[in-house]
């Protein structure tokens, strides 16, 4: 018997009535961070923020130069930050002669582009690394016996797992976006920028929730359907790829049909190169130069009627609505309903599956 063995002693404390979800989440996060790959991906996930922070800096320089009356144009010269900022503003639809409106447009679009383009893809990777093991691992190790013989219910368990994954997803989406906004304010010549863009942090939170909830619930639902985390991982990535391909194919078909109807329309690099070279034959149609960039990032107001098919594209449209870039209900509603449906169906699966072995 060890010297410090005091024998069995009754515990006389008062148990906390609630908080099991927090305990599950805390432990889940700690265990997830044991993965070297997750730590690497999370570190990498912050690198795009540097590039975007540069975008904020350049744009604010352009606004500053414009305010000083210096001629700022994308085609003037390429040796000043202001020029790059003007290029950014132009490509994102901001007019420097209206600095306040331009700031709102450019900041919103930069943040949306940041959350959509690099972070949403990294989010898929992070979720693919973490989520499959969260419930499948418990099923495999019969950890449900640990949980459901304790004073906690399915809701506590699911909430704990959702919080685990949401916290890690937040480190890829919410936190870098908020930090980016703060950095944007810090690199701006005036601190009044913070006031002018004070609604953006709330929009960032809302946009992050719009991404996180359906993503997390879907990934956990997959994880609850099998005791083999590999299968859940495959299902997760297969869903993303399949939805992306389906969306791409259908949208491509739509674009081809549109092109057939207007064969003379200027598109893509032709228009870009023509505008950069100042080709007088190319009429300016009111679209900004480098608008193809905005279109590629999904920022341009286009009718993407297949966006509800793909988790990534549906989230993009809803986020654009949250950032005030997209305001047409007919465009927003289908993807919004699709995301709600994904979340609800996933939730039903989770509630039916997580304690199924205990009830069997």
């Amino acid at each position: 018997m060890p010297l410090h063995d005091v024998g069995y002693r009754p515990w006389t404390g008062t148990p906390r009535p609630r908080g099991a979800a927090g305990v599950i989440a805390g432990t889940g996060i700690r265990l997830a961070f044991k993965s070297r790959w997750l730590r690497r991906v999370l570190l990498f996930a912050w690198s795009p923020a540097l590039v975007f922070a540069g975008g904020f800096f350049a744009f604010e320089q352009a606004v500053e130069e414009s305010a000083r009356g210096e001629p700022v144009s994308p085609t003037r010269r390429l040796d000043s930050f202001g020029t790059i900022g003007a290029l950014v503003a132009d490509s994102l639809g901001g007019r420097l002669d209206e600095p306040e409106a331009a700031r709102r447009t450019v900041w919103s679009r930069l943040l949306l582009a940041f959350m959509r383009a690099p972070q949403a893809v990294l989010l898929a990777v992070v979720v693919g690394l973490v989520a499959p093991k969260l419930i499948a691992g418990d099923l495999r190790a019969r950890a449900w016996l640990v949980y459901f013989t304790r004073p906690l219910g399915r809701t506590d368990y699911i909430l704990g797992k959702v919080l685990t994954l949401a916290a890690i997803v937040g480190l890829v989406t919410l936190v870098p976006a908020l930090v980016l906004w703060i950095v944007g304010v810090l690199v701006s010549p005036s601190v009044w920028v913070a006031v002018a863009t004070s609604d953006l942090p709330l929009r960032i939170v809302a946009a992050a929730v719009a991404v996180t909830l359906p993503t997390v619930l879907l990934a956990l639902a997959y994880s609850s359907l099998t005791a083999e985390s590999r299968i859940a991982t495959f299902a997760w990535f297969a869903t993303w790829v399949a939805c992306w391909i389906a969306h791409g194919a259908l949208t491509g078909a739509d674009m081809a049909a549109e092109a057939a109807r207007a064969p003379t329309a200027q598109r893509g690099f032709d228009r870009l190169l023509g505008q950069v070279a100042g080709d007088p034959r190319l009429p300016r149609d009111g679209r900004p130069p480098l608008g193809w960039l905005a279109r590629a990032a999904g920022l341009e107001r286009t009718v993407d009627r297949w966006s509800w098919l793909s988790l990534y594209h549906a989230q993009g449209v809803v986020q654009a609505w949250i950032f005030g870039i997209e305001d047409r209900l007919t465009v927003v509603l289908p993807p919004l309903l699709a995301l709600v449906a994904v979340a609800l169906v996933s939730l039903v699966i989770l509630f039916r599956r997580v304690d199924a072995p205990a009830r069997a």
């Binding site: 190790a141 019969r142 640990v146």
Partner: protein, 342 residues
């Protein structure tokens, strides 16, 4: 044989007022589709150690799940300290600790983390949970192994961790499913000792589901036999294994026939049991016991043991199984009993 009608509660030994009874099941019925897994199980478990035995598929695990409120019952009710697991499962589980038969762990946690985690899930504050986890693991003699991941531990060590996790929140009712699985004889004895200590020194109610009848006989006060979802036998071990007489069985080495003669000469009624079963005798008072020792000395018989005559629990178990088979087949029970091991 003490076959019990399954629709009536079976008070085992010891009287407990209704709300204080740790566990009371009344007509508990559970069906999975057309299959009835628990068929009107009625039993009461008072404080102490109760063995829950039965062949594979008898419904023991389902019964434990019913007690925890994990399964919805088709009929009947369960009460744990007066609480209904169907309506207040969390309050019930707060008072219960469970050691499952299956190996279970949270992947990635060490032994001490696992026990601390279990404590925190049961509502203990973080620091208190860690202190308590170490304390309970010390009591379970877990040593330094506690710092290794649970998946890498030996079967016996995992069993200790599971036991520590079950009692870390100081539950009133501890349910153990095959608690001595994978333990070496020394560890097995230590584990049984801990159960006895919990029951006798700390007033815990312990329900042990096991196939090892020797363990049941050595530590349990009561026994519940479940066969095909029905309680076929319930009562105190002493009552179930008693022969209905007050005879003592004397075992040892030496001339048994001569011993019987000497005992008779000393006025002690005795008879030899065939096949080396020793000698059965009646010694009601101290004088008679003195006479037994004198007779043994006179006969040159080396006494090894003198104890109340009991039927081996295995015989009781097999007889009850045979009776259950007969009852289910519609055969008269008396006929079966005559063929069952005595």
């Amino acid at each position: 044989m003490h076959a019990v009608h399954h629709s009536e509660p079976t008070p085992a030994v010891g009287a407990c007022a209704g709300g204080d009874m740790p566990l009371r099941l009344e007509g508990v019925t559970k069906r999975y589709g057309a299959r009835t897994v628990l068929d009107g199980v009625s039993v009461e478990v008072p404080p102490g150690i109760t063995g829950l035995v039965g062949p594979n598929g008898a419904g023991k695990s389902t019964l434990v799940r019913a007690i925890l409120g994990l399964v919805r019952l088709a009929a009947g009710s369960a009460r744990v300290y007066g609480l209904d697991p169907a309506t207040v499962p969390l309050a019930v589980r707060r008072r219960i600790g469970v050691v499952p038969e299956d190996d279970c762990s949270v992947p990635g946690l060490s032994g001490v983390e696992m026990v601390q985690y279990a404590a925190r899930l049961s509502g203990l504050p973080s620091t208190e949970a860690l202190r308590r986890a170490h304390e309970v693991l010390d009591w379970c003699d877990a040593g330094q192994e506690r710092y290794r991941e649970v998946e890498t531990l030996s079967v016996g060590m995992r069993q200790k961790v599971a036991f520590a996790a079950a009692i870390v929140h100081d539950p009133d009712l501890v349910i153990l499913d095959e608690p001595t699985n994978g333990l070496d004889p020394l560890e097995r004895r230590a584990m049984l000792g801990r159960l006895v200590a919990l029951a006798r020194d700390h007033g815990k109610t312990i329900l042990v589901s096991t196939h090892v009848l020797r363990d049941v006989q050595s530590i349990c006060d009561r026994l519940v036999l479940l066969v095909r979802g029905r309680v076929r036998l319930a009562g105190s071990i002493a009552e179930l294994t008693g022969t209905g007489t007050d005879e003592l069985r004397l075992r040892g080495a030496g001339p048994t026939a001569r011993l019987v003669e000497c005992l008779t000469a000393h006025g002690v009624a005795a008879r030899e049991v065939a096949d080396g079963g020793g000698v059965l005798l009646r010694a009601a008072d101290t004088a008679a016991l003195h006479a037994v020792w004198s007779a043994a000395r006179d006969a040159g018989f080396a006494v090894e043991s003198l104890a109340a005559d009991r039927r081996p629990l295995e015989d009781v178990f097999l007889a009850a199984l045979a009776a259950a088979d007969a009852a289910d087949a519609g055969q008269p029970e008396d006929e079966v009993r005559s063929h069952a091991p005595a």
